[in-house]
């Protein structure tokens, strides 16, 4: 059974109210959706709340899916919109940070490439809310600045500036992280000489 057929069967089972189908549906989509929640949330527990809220919304609105387009894409959109709504509720309005100065931070590309997905996820979570939102929508979801502006009800200029600042902020975080790691290695090396070599 291919992925599309599996998803349609799960959808049908959920619409009939079968508990097994609902659980299977959750098992199928939860890992991907939780990764999305982690990207948009500033912490693990907030991501869990988003996951629960998102799945409840999906189950409640399953009958609205008309079968046009990817079902996974439809579910994904619900989770992204839930994250945006959550952000809106938390901030009452979209507040985007303005860094006083944007310094060019030289980064070693090799260092970035060495980072694992989990490290990158942690870095994204450390971004301020507004930066994280725009960065996720642009870099990961692939939306244009115009689409982001329309979705968040901001100007395209704000979207662009927030993205630029989020990149600078990420590089700064990467630099700090690598610096900390090097310090840790040096500290351990001073204690255990074999480790430094």
């Amino acid at each position: 059974m291919d992925k599309k057929q599996l998803e349609l069967n799960l959808l049908k089972g959920c619409l009939e109210g079968l508990p097994q189908a609902q659980e299977a549906f959750y098992e199928h989509f939860a890992p991907k959706m939780f990764a999305i929640c982690l990207r948009y949330a500033s912490g693990y527990h907030i991501a869990e709340d988003l996951l629960q809220e998102g799945f409840i919304k999906v189950f409640r609105n399953l009958y609205k899916y008309r079968g046009d387009g990817s079902f996974e894409g439809w579910v994904r959109r619900i989770f992204v919109n839930t994250a945006i709504e959550n952000y809106r509720k938390a901030n009452n309005s979209y507040r985007f940070l303005e860094l006083e100065t944007i310094h060019h931070i030289p980064t070693n590309e090799n260092i970035i490439c060495q980072l694992k997905a989990n490290d990158l996820l942690n870095l994204v979570q450390k971004l301020p809310d507004g930066y994280r939102l725009v960065f996720n929508l642009y870099c990961i979801e692939g939306l244009s600045h115009k689409e982001i502006a329309s979705k968040l009800k901001i100007s395209t200029g704000t979207s662009k500036s927030q993205l630029a600042r989020s990149r600078v902020y990420l590089k700064k975080l990467i630099e700090e992280q690598t610096a900390n790691e090097e310090n840790n290695i040096r500290r351990i090396g001073s204690i255990i000489p074999e480790f430094s070599t």
Partner: protein
């Protein structure tokens, strides 16, 4: 920041995170499942209701069409009424009604003696207003005290005449006397006019022009008719 570096950074994050999968804790499903139990049935009903299509009865269609037609007719009448109302309004405002022919009557008692002027009108144009004394109501508004005063005056005049010639009664022609003693209503109409021109020009100046003609003027005049006693008149007429 170089563009290539930014793009590479974006690309790195996208490749790493777009298809990232992280297993959530089992507790999450338990919480979701608890909430699903509450609206599971609703979801089924909703989806079933979405599929239902009912064709309305043809009678309902006729009734709806009838209602729509009635409403359209009513709307048309309302529009016509509104149009008429607007037209009347325009006509009214473009042709304001002439000012009512109301005389501005000021109390000018201080100008004249009480006995001479009782009622009067100030007119817009300084024109002569004819007074038909036949129609004018002649009443005595003065108190008895004033009557006595005029009567006393008349008697004094008579006394003066009688002092000149005590036989004046015999020399008087009864016809002449009758004509003299005729009531005011029988007086000739000629020259029985009143004008407001004089005192207007004196006391009002240009303001006279702003006033309006009075169609009817009630003039109350007190005329001392009782010159002789009744029996004296009767005696005179007997001659």
């Amino acid at each position: 920041m170089k563009k290539t570096t930014s793009e590479e950074l974006d690309q790195l994050f996208q490749n790493s995170l777009h298809n990232l999968e992280v297993n959530p804790r089992e507790e999450n499903w338990n919480k979701i499942n608890d909430q699903l139990k509450h609206f599971g049935a609703d979801n089924i009903i909703k989806s079933k209701l979405e599929e239902i299509e009912l064709k309305p009865n043809h009678l309902q269609k006729t009734a709806i069409l009838k209602k729509i037609n009635t409403k359209l007719v009513l709307d048309r009448y309302l529009k016509i009424a509104a149009g008429l109302f607007v037209l009347i309004g325009i006509f009214y405002f473009s042709n304001p009604p002439q000012q009512e022919n109301i005389a501005l009557v000021d109390n000018l008692d201080y100008v004249f003696d009480d006995e001479e002027v009782i009622g009067y009108a100030v007119c817009k144009d300084p024109i002569l207003v004819s007074l038909d004394l036949n129609k004018a109501k002649v009443t005595t508004i003065k108190k008895k005290k004033r009557k006595k005063k005029s009567s006393i005056k008349s008697k004094q005049l008579l006394d003066y005449i009688l002092e000149e010639d005590e036989n004046v009664e015999g020399s008087l022609d009864p016809d002449i006397l009758a004509s003299i003693l005729a009531p005011a209503s029988a007086l000739p109409f000629e020259n029985m006019t009143v004008s407001n021109e004089d005192y207007n020009s004196i006391y009002y100046g240009d303001r006279v022009k702003e006033m309006y003609p009075l169609p009817e003027i009630e003039i109350l005049i007190s005329i001392p008719l009782q010159i002789l006693e009744d029996h004296e008149i009767a005696d005179l007429l007997a001659h």
